[in-house]
Every structure is written in structure tokens, then in C-alpha cells.
């Protein structure tokens, strides 16, 4: 089972009610069988079996934990990892570190059994209200909301509304990004909110006021609605350059191995979460420094004698943040896009991404929907080559570290390709 600090499963299980005990055991058996059959770690199937036998299992398992939930369109897996590292300063942590973020995966992670003090849990956006109800968290981090997989997911503002409705009675401290109007609106009905100025480069989903529909004014980093007065709250915490500013105006340098502005933002939110549990920002940030790659993301691998950095970008906001962290031209760039169910089957979003920013890079295009990408790049006036595989791209790429950017299943395929 993923992400557990301890193998001391026995002591913890003994304290569980009978029904929960049976459910956890059955889940473990199902997971083991699935794993033996070569179908991944088996954690999700195990969680499904366990939840079926005991629908209250999630609540039971989180009963003895200080739970932190993390949700967002982008950055939730990385931030979950950063928070987990930070909180380990205060006690053992159990976490769904591999990104299985729906109820079954969360149940499996918690049922891993441990003497953990903290449960740091990444939650899929849709399930946040439900998981928040079941796990009674002490803190919930809300990082950002933007368009993602519109052919199957709810529309973006509807998601914000779902959060707003589902979280308004929670006793948890909400740690929310004040620079994202949709997140701010979702959080502003909650009792206790810690506002973090974490930034949000992508603005295209928040031009109309989530509250009244008025046209949003966005001078500089500020935002407000002229019609109803809904506006950016004064932040308690802020990301300023490469420093976290705490509520007492202390400035703490962020030294991450993870690249990019988005991860500086994730670290800032994580420091604010850690502070809720009494972990000081300097301690939290120092611990975050140990995180090098998260579920393979940002990993620099050696493949066919070349350095290839694997970057995940699932939606327009994610691509925008990714473009800002890659090496400048003439670093070769590989783009890979799939449109399986897990990616969303509609590729229209490619046209919301400013591929024009790749001008000057040698570009190689691959993946299931490489032709959609080819048309997109042609219209952007860029030079590019369409290739059949990572191997072909790497063999013909000019010198330099290669930046490989892929969406969800395309990223998994890249990871598979580089280890085989």
C-alpha cells in the first residue's frame, strides 16, 4: 500500500470496529490478488472492495488522524507531497502519495494501516465535499480551479459552486489561493480561511465574476468585480519572488529541487498548511527541499544516452506554467498528447494553449493526437517534426537536455518508455 510510514499495521487494526476490520482485510486481499495478476499496485481495487463492505470506512479510518485535504485542478499531487514532508516534522504521516485521489484510492491509502498522526490526502475536485464530510479534516488546501476535461467534468464555475456549497459548514481551516477568483469565491463562505497570495498565471476562466457575473477588473495582481464589490481578500501569506512571506511579515527563502513558479506557489500554500499544525515555515520549507520528483513528474531520466526531463501538463493552465519552467531555446522540446478517457476525449483545449511560446525550440510532436498538435503548431507558425515514438524523437533531437511535456496518459507512456 502506498505512502505509509509504518509497517505497524497490527496495532492500528486492532482498534478498528469489527466491520471496518473485515473490510480492511478483504480490501488487502483484493489488492494483493490484483497486484499478483500484474494489474498495478492494486490499491484502488482494494479500496473499492473495502468501501463496499463498510461504506463508513473512510470516516472510521480517519478518526484518529489529523486530516489535511488538498484539492485543485493543478498541483494537488505535488502539494500533497510537500505538505506530507513538512508535517513529518511533527509526526508520522499517511498519504495517498501516488495520486489515487478518489474515495477508493484514499481509503486504500488510509487502510494501509499505520500509527500515523497525520493523514495528508489529495482529493479529486469532484469528490472534495464528500471526502471532507467523511474525514472531518483539520485543514483543506484549495490551490486553483481552471478548465479541465470539459467533455466529462463539470464546468469550472459549477465546480467552484460545488465546493462553496459542500464546504460552507466545515470546521476545517481553509487555506485558499486569494489570487484565484473561483477559489476565493468557493472558500469565502467558510468559517475559517487563511488566504494565500500564491499567484495564478492562467486567467481565462475568471473573467466574469463568480458571484454576480459582472466583468472582472484585473489590474496587475489585483482583481475585483465592479458590479457587486466581490474582490481579492487581503492575503495572510504570500509568495514573493522566491520567498514565502508569513503573516508576521517574515520572509523565508524557498529552496526546492522542483522547478517552476507553480511549485514555489505550492510550497507557499504548503507552508501555510504546516503552520496550522504548529510547524514553523523555516522547518516546513527545509523539509520540502528533499522532494525531487513526484510520481515521476519533473524527473530527469537518462534515455538512449540523453537527459530527458519528464513534465506533466494536463490542461491549458498546466501547460502555461510548464512553458515558464522549461530551458530556453535551443533546448529540444517533445510534446505528446493523448485523448483517452482519463485525458478527456475532446482536444479543443489545445487551442487555449499558447504554443507560440515555443518559438525557437526544435519541436517534436507525438502521441495519439499528434495530428491535432501538428495543426495547432502549423497555425501558430512554428516549425516542428511529427514522430512516431519517444525513441525516434530522442534520436533525431539536437544536442541539449530534452524537455518532454505530455498530458496524463501520454505522460504515463513516456515513463514506461524510459524505464523499459
Amino acid at each position: 500500500m502506498p505512502g505509509t510510514d509504518s509497517e505497524a499495521t497490527g496495532a492500528r487494526d486492532a482498534s478498528l470496529p469489527a466491520r471496518a476490520k473485515i473490510a480492511v482485510t478483504a480490501g488487502r486481499m483484493a489488492a494483493a490478488l490484483s497486484q499478483k495478476a500484474g494489474r498495478g499496485s492494486g490499491s484502488v481495487i482494494g479500496g473499492k472492495v473495502a468501501l463496499k463492505l463498510d461504506p463508513d470506512l473512510l470516516a472510521t479510518l480517519s478518526d484518529h488522524l489529523d486530516v489535511v485535504l488538498v484539492s485543485a485542478t493543478n498541483g494537488k499531487t505535488t502539494t500533497t507531497r510537500l505538505i506530507a514532508e513538512a508535517l513529518r516534522a511533527a509526526g508520522p504521516v499517511v498519504s495517498n502519495a501516488l495520486g489515487a485521489n478518489m474515495p477508493a484510492g484514499i481509503t486504500a491509502a488510509l487502510a494501509g494501516g499505520s500509527d500515523a498522526k497525520f493523514g495528508v490526502i489529495e482529493v479529486d475536485e469532484k469528490y472534495l465535499p464528500m471526502v471532507a464530510r467523511d474525514t472531518r479534516p483539520k485543514a483543506i488546501a484549495l490551490l486553483n480551479l481552471s478548465r479541465d476535461q470539459l467533455d466529462r467534468a463539470a464546468e469550472t464555475r459549477m465546480m467552484a459552486e460545488k465546493w462553496r456549497e459542500g464546504l460552507k459548514d466545515t470546521d476545517a481551516v481553509i487555506i485558499a489561493n486569494a489570487d484565484d477568483p473561483l477559489v476565493t469565491w468557493a472558500a469565502s463562505s467558510c468559517k475559517k480561511v487563511v488566504w494565500v497570495a500564491a499567484g495564478q498565471a492562467w486567467k481565462e476562466d475568471a473573467w466574469s465574476c463568480p458571484s454576480c457575473g459582472g466583468v472582472m477588473q484585473r489590474p496587475g495582481d489585483d482583481w475585483f468585480c465592479q458590479e457587486c464589490g466581490f474582490r481579492r481578500p487581503n492575503p495572510h501569506w504570500a509568495l514573493q519572488g522566491t520567498h514565502v512571506i508569513d503573516p508576521h511579515r517574515g520572509a523565508w527563502p524557498i529552496q526546492l529541487q522542483l522547478p517552476g513558479r507553480a511549485n514555489l506557489a505550492n510550497a507557499t500554500s504548503s507552508a501555510a498548511v504546516a503552520a496550522v499544525f504548529g510547524v514553523a515555515p523555516q522547518v516546513a520549507l527545509q523539509r520540502m527541499q528533499s522532494v525531487a520528483a513526484v510520481a515521476g513528474r519533473y524527473d530527469v531520466v537518462s534515455y538512449l544516452g540523453r537527459d530527458v526531463r519528464l513534465l506533466l501538463a494536463k490542461n491549458p493552465a498546466g501547460w502555461l506554467e510548464t512553458f515558464s519552467l522549461i530551458d530556453g531555446p535551443p533546448a529540444p522540446v517533445i510534446l505528446s498528447v493523448n485523448a483517452m478517457d482519463a485525458d478527456g476525449t475532446d482536444t479543443s483545449w489545445l487551442w487555449d494553449v499558447d504554443y507560440e511560446r515555443l518559438s525557437g525550440h526544435p519541436i517534436f510532436v507525438m502521441g495519439q493526437r499528434k495530428l491535432d498538435l501538428a495543426v495547432r503548431l502549423e497555425v501558430a507558425g512554428l516549425q516542428f517534426q511529427v514522430v512516431e515514438s519517444l525513441e525516434e524523437a530522442v534520436r533525431i533531437a539536437p544536442a541539449g537536455r530534452i524537455e518532454a511535456i505530455a498530458n496524463y496518459t501520454a505522460f504515463q507512456q513516456l515513463r514506461k518508455a524510459v524505464v523499459s
Partner: protein, 269 residues
């Protein structure tokens, strides 16, 4: 079609662009094509920017200058554009867009002047007589197309679409991606833009997809539709120049994408 007041004989008389279609001078104002993208702040949810980018690219490849005017919903819609694009959006922004367009009146005046208007999904519904808004109420549209939209009771129409375009328009098979709950009914004043081969289109069960009359078009197709169907983008440019041919422009990657999507849509998933 009415004859516009500003004309530039330049492109209309350029032999590269073929003969004029209607014996009237080009409706293009100034020396560049004015492409107006209506309300990107509200109606740009499904990569709709792509339609503006493709029109711009296809025009520039023919040596035309292009001025793109993105009109936010707190600005007035200029009446002097050549091609107006209006895209898809979520239910609430759609209601706000309809309200603001009705109050502004610019798009209606442009239509009276014979402007070319190409609309997609939520934008298509807004051009009609009415649609059902996010509050479940009947919301008046702009009445630029004789269509009205009700809310489908069944599953949302989501997936790849193939359709044969109205033969009068002389366009190749249409490919795109639909994602809507609305059902659009066509009145006497419009013709179906296409007839569906795969997918749902207007959702009325009669196989129609989209609607058009004169130079006003509506479709449910995303993709974006002009990236999947550059011939439709070229048609809009030809209408703007009032010519019946354009100099050739490379379509290698579009053709490859089209072949792939047409084959994929034909396969049972």
C-alpha cells in the same frame, strides 16, 4: 445580401482571387480583413480561440492583412467587422452574453449590414430566437437565425461528429466534436448547415446539424471546427472578399488530421 458602404476594390479585382461572386465589390473595409471575436471572456470555453486563429492564418497565407478585434462583454461590438466569430460557453456565461448582446445591439446592426457571422454551440443558440438559460427560463436570443433551442431530456450529446454540408455551399465533409444538452429546432427562415452521419447535431432526431441563411452560420461543432475544416474558414474569407476562389494555401496537416478523425468517427468506440 445588402451591399456594405465601405468597399475596397483591391482584393475583389485581384485575379488571384478569382471572379467576384455576386458582381458586387468586395465588402472588405480598409486593406485588411477585420475579424471580430465576440466575447472571449464569456464564450471561449472549448478552444474557440482556435477558430479566430485559423481564419487569421488562412487569410495571411493568402497575403491578406488581418486585424483581429477581441471584444469583451463590457465593450460594444463594432459594426464594421468583416467576419464575426462567436463561440461556446457554459450556461451562465451564455445567459450573460445574450443579455449583453441584446443590450449592445452591435452584432444585430452588423448583421443588417450583411456581416458574415459564424457561431458555435452556445453562440449558435444565442443567434437564434430563444434558448433555455441556466435558470431554466426561456431567454430571448438575437433572432439572427430562425431557430430556437430547448433543453434535451436525455443524455448530453458528447462525441465526434461527421456530417455532409449543405451541397449549395460546396464544402467537403464536416468533422468536429459536439458537447451540448440543447436541442435546436429549425424554422422556415434557415436551412440546415449539414446533415449528420455520425453524432447528434441539432439533437432533433431529424439528422440536421447547425443552420444557416445568407452569411449567418451556426453549428454545434467544436474541435475547433475551423481547425478540423479549413474549407469552412476559407468560405468565410471568400464571402468577406466576395470572391469565389482563393490562392491555394497548404493543407497538409489539416488533411492528415481530417482523414484520421473521419476514420475514427466511423469506427464504433
Amino acid at each position: 445580401m445588402s451591399v456594405p458602404s465601405h468597399q475596397n476594390p483591391g482584393f475583389g479585382s485581384d485575379p488571384r482571387f478569382g471572379s467576384q461572386q455576386h458582381g458586387r465589390p468586395s465588402r472588405m473595409s480598409e486593406s485588411s480583413l477585420r475579424v471580430v471575436w465576440v466575447y472571449p471572456d464569456l464564450l471561449s470555453t472549448y478552444g474557440d480561440r482556435g477558430n479566430a486563429l485559423v481564419v487569421e492564418r488562412r487569410a495571411r497565407q493568402r497575403g491578406l492583412g488581418v486585424t483581429r478585434i477581441d471584444v469583451r462583454s463590457d465593450q460594444s461590438v463594432p459594426t464594421s467587422g468583416d467576419i464575426y466569430l462567436i463561440g461556446g460557453g457554459e450556461d451562465r456565461p451564455q445567459r450573460l452574453a445574450a443579455e449583453r448582446l441584446r443590450n449592445d445591439g452591435g452584432l444585430q446592426r452588423a448583421a443588417e449590414n450583411g456581416a458574415i457571422i459564424f457561431s458555435v454551440c452556445a453562440g449558435y443558440q444565442i443567434l437564434g430566437r430563444e434558448f433555455i438559460n441556466d435558470l431554466g427560463e426561456r431567454e430571448p436570443g438575437l433572432g439572427l437565425l430562425d431557430v430556437w433551442t430547448t433543453r434535451g431530456e436525455g443524455a448530453r450529446c458528447v462525441g465526434d461528429v461527421l456530417a455532409g454540408v449543405d451541397p449549395i455551399l460546396g464544402l467537403p465533409q464536416l468533422t468536429g466534436f459536439e458537447n451540448h444538452q440543447g436541442i435546436t429546432h429549425l424554422g422556415q427562415g434557415v436551412k440546415p448547415f449539414a446533415s449528420v452521419q455520425v453524432g447528434r447535431g441539432n439533437g432533433t432526431g431529424d439528422g440536421t446539424e447547425g443552420a444557416w441563411r445568407d452569411t449567418v452560420f451556426g453549428t454545434y461543432l467544436h474541435g475547433p471546427v475551423l481547425a478540423r475544416n479549413p474549407a469552412v474558414a476559407d468560405m468565410l474569407i471568400k464571402l468577406a472578399l466576395d470572391v469565389n476562389a482563393l490562392p491555394p494555401a497548404d493543407t497538409t496537416w489539416y488533411d492528415a488530421l481530417r482523414a484520421e478523425r473521419i476514420a475514427a468517427a466511423g469506427r464504433p468506440s
